[in-house]
């Protein structure tokens, strides 16, 4: 009873300052809600024509950036992996090529690390695959060739020359994802094969290995459908300032051996 009375007293006693501030805060909260809703709507048409889409995007970046496309529209039905190998022009007087290594399997080798998502090589594999698939057929043919001598700047120029649709952002995305996986492959090469001889180039491939389809789930003889594999040539070694080869090798070797 006493508590009710207190609330009643409070209810009648708000100052103008309290009412005005509450009004302003309500408007700010409502604006934030409208922008959040607009930013997250799956329909681009509604987002850009009816609701204030560009304004919402400008407001949400960078602190409210979010993405709730979780297991959607359909969940991934394939294991996404990055594979790496290296090549040396001269090991004991002979050219030498390493075996392919599934570096995603290495990253996932300690089971507890599965919850530390998303694994860096899986991010690389996914970025690379989507950038690769966005290239036109001529560009895909080009990236299958070697660029370990000409370099990535030349690769970018040649890809741009083949860009007939004016989609230079696709070339930029492809080069960026190439640099990411290439720089990772370089560290793997030093960690695994650095003592064999001087590494001349690295090669990566992204493998999307589908799980057994739903309709075949009860068939013990069922095979996984064929994997999708990117086809890219040899690339130069790429190392960024501040990189510690030793510390990368320490972790990578521990996971490889463990």
């Amino acid at each position: 009873m006493a508590q009710k009375k207190t609330v009643q007293q409070v209810r009648t006693g708000y100052s103008t300052a309290a009412k005005v501030t509450a009004g302003v805060v309500s408007l700010l909260v409502a604006a934030h809600m409208l922008f959040t809703l607009t930013y997250n709507l799956p329909s681009r048409e509604i987002r850009e024509s009816i609701l204030p889409g560009p304004l919402a995007t400008a407001y949400m970046q960078p602190l409210f950036v979010q993405d709730y496309k979780i297991f959607a529209p359909d969940p991934a039905g394939a294991d996404h992996q990055l594979w790496v190998r290296a090549w040396s022009e001269n090991v004991d007087g002979e050219p030498w090529t390493s075996e392919w290594v599934n570096v995603t399997a290495v990253e996932l080798s300690a089971p507890y690390r599965k919850i530390l998502r998303k694994q860096l090589t899986i991010v690389g594999a996914e970025r690379f695959m989507s950038a690769y698939e966005a290239l036109n057929p001529e560009q895909q043919q080009l990236v299958a060739t070697n660029y370990h001598r000409a370099g990535l700047t030349r690769l970018e120029e040649d890809l741009t020359a083949l860009d007939t649709a004016g989609t230079s952002s696709r070339v930029t995305a492809f080069i960026r994802s190439t640099q990411y996986v290439d720089a990772y492959a370089t560290q793997v090469a030093y960690a695994l094969w650095g003592d064999i001889g001087e590494i001349s180039a690295v090669q990566t491939r992204v493998v999307y290995d589908p799980v057994i389809r739903w309709n075949d789930r009860d068939d013990p003889e069922a095979q996984r459908p064929a994997a999708t594999i990117t086809d890219t040539g040899w690339r130069p070694l790429l190392e960024y300032p501040g990189q510690s080869r030793e510390k990368f090798a320490q972790t990578f070797q521990e996971w490889t051996n463990g």
């Binding site: 100052s15 996932l108 501040g242």
Partner: protein, 356 residues
């Protein structure tokens, strides 16, 4: 007609005003969020620690191409200056230790007026080092919720601040909230900001559920009900493959799981309106998160969502639960004491009192 619209608007704005100013809402839910989010951060730091350099330190410079293209590079000052990508590993470790100490204080609810914004700033700064990890998935939800939480009174329940206040009650001093506010503001200010934060957290949860359901509705496998089968079989996500096999091997469970996760999420805001449907929604959605956390290697996202959902549980429910726990604890303690006395013989030499 015009008059009734005006009176309706007046009535609604008065209601909103009272909801915002009368009392602080969701104090227990916010306490769960504080303790939960603090604990998640500590566990994450602990798990990254053995290979810290690989993910965030000198061994991770190779991730530069994607780090350079991240939205975190537009974070305002000082978020990019506290932790830095060029820090040597020793310095990174020292800064992380400082963050861990602040996180412990945040979890315990100590001096939240200072600790909550400090934790937010340090955590966001840490998340700029390698956004390839910390600006994706649950970290995004975590960041948005932490920004809202800093406006709320997080230490009103189950905290060191609450214990201190109960020992030295001072009715004139408003409880701490809203960044570093130090001036003697009237009580309604902290109530207003607390309730605005609760509104934003609740709205964010509804957006997460409804938007992810709308995205799923565009996929054929969610309609046919087989969607959850595929992630359950991925190596990347199977923490306990044998357990996953049990689930995907039982078709009704796959169908139920797929449809329930879409429709529970889609109708979540509507189910909140009535008390009984709210209970169903919260139990259902908590079960869904628990399953995702365990079966799909997503414990942090699941936990962050479960903790935040707790703002929808009424204070009276928490008070009843708290009273029940206290009763059980007292019973347990008195049982222990009784046990102790029965074990002592009257002459104090030990041994049972009752001897055949």
């Amino acid at each position: 007609m015009g008059e009734s619209v005006v009176s309706w608007v007046t009535l609604m704005s008065t209601r909103v005003q009272h909801w915002l100013l009368d009392e602080k809402h969701a104090s227990y839910g916010l306490a769960i969020m504080r303790i939960g989010y603090g604990t998640i951060s500590l566990v994450l730091m602990g798990l990254y620690l053995p290979h810290l350099s690989y993910s965030f330190g000198e061994a991770a410079a190779w991730a530069t191409p994607l780090r350079e293209a991240s939205a975190v590079n537009d974070y305002p000052w000082p978020l990019q200056s506290i932790f830095s990508r060029t820090d040597p590993d020793g310095l990174l470790l020292a800064k992380l230790a400082l963050l861990a100490v602040v996180t412990v204080l945040f979890t315990l609810g100590w001096r939240m007026r200072i600790i909550a914004p400090t934790f937010l700033v340090l955590w966001l700064s840490f998340s700029t080092i390698n956004p390839v990890i910390t600006n994706t998935g649950h970290y995004q939800t975590f960041r948005v919720m932490l920004i809202f939480m800093v406006f709320a009174d997080l230490s009103r329940r189950w905290s060191l601040d609450a214990r201190r206040r109960s020992r030295n009650p001072s009715p004139l001093r408003p409880s701490p909230t809203f960044l570093l506010m130090r001036w003697p503001a009237p009580t309604w200010v902290s109530t207003l900001f607390n309730n605005a934060a609760v509104l934003l957290i609740g709205f964010q949860l509804c957006i997460i559920y409804v938007v992810s359901a709308l995205w799923k509705l565009q996929g054929a496998t969610w309609h046919s009900g087989v969607a959850v089968y595929y992630p359950l079989r991925l190596e990347e996500l199977a923490l306990f493959p044998e357990l996953n096999e049990l689930v995907w091997g039982f078709t009704p469970l796959v169908l139920l799981g797929s449809w329930a996760s879409v429709y529970l999420q889609l109708f979540f805001p509507v189910l909140l309106i009535n008390r009984w449907t709210r209970i169903v929604a919260l139990i259902g959605i908590t079960g869904m998160h628990a399953a995702i956390g365990l079966l799909l290697s997503l414990p942090f996202f699941s936990a962050a969502m479960i903790f935040a959902d707790m703002i929808f549980v009424r204070s009276t429910t928490w008070e009843t639960a708290q009273a029940w726990v206290r009763r059980q604890y007292r019973r347990f303690r008195s049982g222990l004491e009784k046990d102790k006395t029965t074990k002592l013989s009257p002459d104090g030499r030990g041994g049972p009192l009752m001897v055949d």
